[in-house]
Symmetry: C2
Subunit: 339 residues, 2 copies
DNA sequence: TTGTAGGCGTTATCAG
DNA sequence: CTGATAACGCCTACAA
């Protein structure tokens, strides 16, 4: 099956390639008659422009790249979905790469995408990354670039985030409001800003309510997994028998903790209240149902793409573009685990 | 930042573009000296070949398309992960599109990908699709094509599947082995082959064990959602008070059912045993832990890509390629819900 | 060993 | 209104 080209249509119709091209792109300076003839012929031959040639000419591919720490992940897969859906609306396709929380991979993938000459890059940082050179290189090469959720504050690009500190503050304060006085925090890994901010929010809420911050009540995850929640809950119980609340960096960790507490028949929320973060679907389904912070993944995807689109449009028209940061609202979801 | 081209290197070095090109591609007929000079210059200028131009010349883009019914989905996101990871190994990038179980969208997306001239297409059918024209068109246009999981038996392409019928048979037989005599089946939507095969497996297991098939015990989901599991469980309980086992088309449906049964204090597995399908992570975490069929999503992604790769390689070398079907093994995961 | 020339398929400019 | 011509950046016979 040979591909149809402008040339073939031109030959069949006995006109020039130029005219065919113009007719197909609805240029005003083509007679109705020839335009119709071309359109008809193109249709009957199932002509579609060779996108490789179009890319070369127009210097854009209507394709963007997305680098994400983990594909199998409730929050991130919602972001992906939002990005893909929104991109499709304006005719953009999305290439997805997974950094698996590895800086080394992330660096390679950024390079790969730039060499592919995608029109823009969307990225959420791996746990190992900060304001590293590969990100600066994106800026230097002037490739439209938006970071979301796990960002680096020091990179000068558009960003879509939530206020992790405030949300964590609210979560902790919610626990306090329900009467908790000794609150443990199972926090995320040391490096990502995300985890730091949530920890800070926790600390601030304690301070505001004159609860002494006790750093032995803070447990640090390596990867924020179910098992870590389970194991840390066990550790918390053995090390501190006076705990009455746990704020977990993410729902899956909270569910791990709940699983352990259920196992040893500690009653939630009566003896210990638990709150998570992210609003994973699963939280509604376990016993007791998990209170959490709703983090709008899909919307974050949508906003991220739109910000990128804006920048790509400016680039095309060689207009200046000033990076912006969008902060999306979160809200507390109160369920049984903190009643 | 203007892009570096072969031409610029050539001018800077006072040699021809051809020589530069050859040097970079390690042609044997370039002197060591010029080769080194070129390599060095290319490096210092951060030259990377313009992929648009390369695509146009070589007629391939090292990019494949993936159409998937739903991105936010335990099983499918594992497949995606497998595909991306495997593709990256051979330098392929993956464009992901979501059909949202809509045939109309799927048709558009297939068209989109072909017009983009991706090197190959990976697809899992939407619930509305069968052996439709858009799939035949892929074959007709001779685009390398692999279907996985939700396939159409009538399309002549490579496939990666599990034996749904056998797996469902095993699940049902497992229930029977545990003493169940009245087994309901919450099945998937009417159209997809998947759901049909699982239903058939259920039926065959009953037959083999001389249990009368009662079609009033079969409940049909529209979308295989949590709520459907919940609602059908309620319906089952009111319509048939003698049920002692439920085989659900997928874990999320099973978890919906379990949630209802827990609510009305029907004891699982004592009064009713429940088994799901897919081995979603969540099944390990609820009470009681869910028995299920393990469906290897990641591997399915890996195998699918490799099959596609084979076909793409044959295409490039204009060798013939005969479609193959790979059937991946499944296994029963026995947990508390069928003890 | 190096370079010339033509082409991949489109689009843009400019002259007729 | 139409068409010739020249790019876009790279690759590859074929000449020199």
């Amino acid at each position: 099956m040979k591909d149809i080209t402008l040339k073939e249509i031109a030959i069949k119709l006995g006109i020039s390639i130029t005219t065919v091209s113009k007719a197909l792109k609805n240029y005003p300076d083509v007679s109705e008659k020839t335009k119709n003839a071309v359109l008809e012929m193109a249709k009957s031959l199932h002509f579609t422009p060779n996108s490789f040639a179009v890319n070369l000419r127009t210097r854009e591919s209507k394709t963007i790249g997305l680098i994400i720490p983990e594909v199998v992940h409730h929050f991130f897969s919602n972001v992906i979905k939002g990005i893909i859906a929104e991109a499709e609306k304006s005719g953009y396709l999305v290439i997805i790469l997974q950094s698996s929380e590895s800086k080394e991979l992330e660096i390679k993938q950024v390079d790969l995408l730039m060499n592919k000459r995608v029109d823009g890059i969307l990225l959420s940082l791996s746990n190992e990354s900060n304001d590293d050179d590969h990100l600066k290189e994106i800026i230097r090469r002037d490739v439209p670039f938006v970071m979301f959720d796990k960002i680096s504050k020091l990179i000068n690009c558009s960003k879509v985030i939530i206020n992790d500190q405030k949300a964590a503050f609210n979560a902790t304060e919610h626990l306090i409001g329900k009467g908790c006085k000794r609150i443990a925090h199972i926090r995320g890994p040391v490096n990502p800003q995300n985890a730091i901010d949530r920890f800070l929010g926790y600390k601030k809420a304690l301070e505001k309510h004159n609860i002494l911050f006790d750093k032995s009540l803070v447990y640090t995850c390596k990867g924020s997994e179910f098992e870590e929640g389970y194991d840390f809950a066990k550790q918390i119980i053995t090390e501190h028998n006076d705990i009455d609340g746990i704020f977990c960096v993410t729902d899956i960790v909270a569910i791990g903790a709940i699983n352990y507490l259920n196992e040893i028949n500690i009653s939630i929320p009566k003896q210990i209240k638990v709150i998570g973060f992210s609003n994973w679907f699963m939280g509604q389904v376990i016993t007791p149902k998990l209170s959490t912070i709703d983090q709008p993944g899909y919307d974050m995807g949508v906003e991220s793409f739109n910000l990128l689109l804006e920048e790509m449009n400016c680039r095309r028209e060689t207009k200046p573009f000033t990076p912006r940061t969008i902060e999306l609202p979160t809200k507390i979801i109160e369920r049984e685990s903190t009643l």
